[in-house]
């Protein structure tokens, strides 16, 4: 089954990217597979910083990491709820998932069940002066997806 992949981060506000992903899914009669990636690496880095630089005890450090994780999951769920609402309005079949790991792992999880025809990746908008000399760049791992990757600045 074909799917359009929309990769998001917790706390992101998918506007244009969501719209584009829905359009692509509708055009190709595909499922919209929206995944929010909780980058485990960031939590590891935060834990390292708390312990090594802040000299915070293990218990307090674990507590705060768990709270940050819960906060990110809550934000991810809010984002995906908005995606489901928008997909329902557009009449597009949707599957959502929160994934802990790296973005390419989310792609891998999606590709075990769907044939990914198109991927939409929201990227941070460039500053006005950057637009003169820099193109919006897809992350390096996007090359491995084996499908069209469309970056949308938000």
């Amino acid at each position: 089954m074909n799917a359009v992949l929309l990769l998001l981060t917790p706390g992101s506000q998918p506007g244009l990217a969501l719209q584009r992903a829905l359009e692509r899914a509708k055009e190709s009669h595909a499922v919209l597979y929206a995944a929010v990636v909780l980058p485990a690496r960031h939590l590891d880095e935060l834990a390292g910083q708390l312990m090594d630089h802040g000299f915070i005890g293990e218990k307090l450090s674990e507590d705060v990491i768990e709270h940050v994780r819960q906060e990110q999951v809550a934000l991810a769920n809010e984002v995906l709820a908005r995606v489901r609402e928008a997909a329902a309005r557009a009449g597009v079949e949707v599957e959502t998932q929160v994934i802990e790991g790296e973005p390419w792992e989310a792609c891998e999880a999606a590709s075990t069940r769907f044939s990914i025809a198109h991927a939409v990746l929201p990227v941070p908008a460039r500053a006005w002066f950057e637009r003169w000399w820099r193109k919006p760049r897809a992350p390096a791992w996007a090359e491995d997806l084996g499908c069209n990757v469309e970056t949308v600045e938000e």
């Binding site: 909780l38 312990m51 630089h53 293990e58 307090l60 906060e71 949707v94 599957e95 802990e100 891998e108």
Partner: protein
């Protein structure tokens, strides 16, 4: 239409099909991360070999040259995080006797420094506050009492973090208050990355704990570390009260400036915070009435604080701290196992090593030589030394651990104090205070990192407001040093 349910998946546990990825990056980019640490180790070994095999330059003893080589290795490792900070300190302790800069017994005896035992006592006392739930109760009470409107809630969050960091580690304050603020932002339905109020609340938490952390010797271990190095190298010191007296005006000014900047950069975009107030009320109800344990710990803490201020000079700060710890155990208010999880014992190794390194640099004459060869060329008078050192500490702390900044800059800076007729205690303040004011980058201090991980702030939200606060802090610090410190007998005027 919804085809699937939402759950959290860990790819490691999900079924995978074989995956082969061809890395198309240039070869040097693929190999560099793998060999980077090896290159740094080679560089460190090369520096050390060079130091022991070449004759020292004029004015520097052989022991001094070796101490400098060890110092350079530690700086390299601290800045680039080649090893955990405390392990780098261990390396220093091993290299100092091995190089013949000091005897092994001298080097290891520096672990008996009073500053280390003060840090140990202060961390255990703070652990008791957290473990008993007393600190959370105080936070909830203050926020519930004063945070009735969006503006007053924002100011309460800022002030709460400032005041709590007077009594316990600033990093622990941010870590402890994060869940409360995260819950408030959720019930207020603030939109991540877009809500100004959400951004302001998390920044108030980070900035508040950072600003409060410089006020007393309890806010962060870098102040006791600075005093430890100061005492070990010059014999001079600060009492608990003297330190706070010298810094307090800056804390008051920065708290006001931080509030103004938060409102300036993030104009309040909500009208009602009743939902947050309700959460605070519910949390307070869940805690119930203060238990005997909390009341007793609060009494011991207040008595300790009074003893630090009134009797600290006579009995010693570390003695007061450790007596209080013993009293807590005598009254069975806390158990060792409970404390262990709240104290990071690596702090003792880190600071023990830093004090040892500072002492080695000073006693071998390397600190004075290095200061003469570097700062002397840039600074022409004592005021310029203060401007320059405070700026250096402030910039460095944005990119590396504040304790590492103190360990790196202070021994060298103390070396130049005599040359400009500066009181070494002024130098200790000039390095230790700005080193605690990392407000701009998430890597600067754990409080910033925690705020950034909330998902409400982008890097841009931290950069400009943080840099503005840091700049104002630098100017305010120097004005305070120039106008206020002489009233306290800390003179920065002097010859060039």
């Amino acid at each position: 239409m919804q085809a699937g349910n939402m759950d959290i998946a860990s790819p490691a546990s999900s079924a995978r099909k074989p995956r082969y990825v061809v890395d198309t990056r240039p070869l040097w980019r693929i190999l560099l991360p793998g060999v980077f640490h090896a290159l740094l180790w080679c560089l460190a070994a090369g520096m050390y070999w060079w130091a022991i095999s070449t004759p020292p330059p004029a004015g520097l003893s052989e022991a001094g040259q070796r101490a400098l080589a060890i110092f350079a290795i530690c700086v390299l490792f601290w800045v680039l995080s080649v090893l955990p900070l405390m392990v780098t300190s261990l390396l220093a302790i091993v290299l100092i006797p091995l190089s013949g800069v000091m005897s092994a017994s001298q080097a290891y005896s520096l672990f008996g420094n009073e500053a280390l035992f003060f840090i140990l006592g202060a961390f255990i006392l703070a652990a008791c506050l957290m473990k008993s739930g007393l600190s959370t109760r105080i936070a909830l009470a203050i926020l519930h009492r004063f945070g009735r409107t969006p503006h007053s809630l924002l100011f309460s969050v800022l002030l709460l973090n400032v005041v709590m960091a007077f009594f316990m580690s600033e990093h622990a304050v941010a870590a402890m208050n994060f869940p409360i603020i995260a819950e408030m932002t959720q019930v207020l339905r603030l939109t991540p990355r877009r809500s100004n109020y959400g951004k302001a609340l998390f920044l108030a938490m980070a900035w508040g704990s950072t600003i409060g952390g410089i006020a007393t010797l309890l806010g962060g271990a870098r102040a006791p570390l600075a005093i430890g190095i100061l005492r070990e190298t010059t014999g001079k010191s600060f009492t608990f009260f003297e330190w706070s007296q010298a810094i307090f005006p800056l804390v008051v000014v920065l708290t006001g400036v931080a509030y103004v900047l938060l409102r300036w950069f993030f104009p309040v975009d909500i009208n009602d915070v009743r939902a947050a107030d309700e959460v605070l009320r519910e949390r307070r109800l869940r805690l119930g009435k203060p238990r005997y344990q909390e009341r007793a710990i609060a009494t011991v803490m207040l008595a300790t604080l009074a003893a630090w201020i009134l009797l600290g000079e006579e009995f010693g700060l570390a003695n007061v701290a450790l007596v209080s710890v013993v009293v807590l155990f005598l009254l069975r208010l806390v158990h060792w196992k409970e404390i262990e999880g709240y104290v990071n014992w690596g702090v003792l190794v880190m600071y023990g090593g830093a004090i040892c390194l500072g002492s080695a640099l000073s006693k071998s004459g390397a600190a004075g030589w290095l200061a003469h060869a570097t700062i002397r060329d840039w600074a022409t008078n004592s005021s310029a030394v203060i401007w320059l050192l405070s700026l250096l500490a402030l910039v460095l702390t944005e990119a590396m651990s504040n304790s590492a900044v103190v360990a790196m800059l202070l021994p060298m800076s103390l070396g130049i104090a005599g040359e400009f007729g500066l009181d070494p205690r002024v130098i200790a303040l000039t390095v230790a205070v700005p080193a605690g004011l990392a407000t701009t980058l998430p890597i600067g201090t754990p409080a910033n990192a925690i705020a950034f991980s909330s998902g409400y702030l982008s890097l841009r939200d931290l950069l400009l407001p943080g840099a503005t606060l840091a700049f104002i802090a630098w100017v305010a610090f120097n004005l305070m040093a120039w106008w206020y410190w002489p009233w306290l007998g800390l003179h920065i005027g002097g010859g060039g």
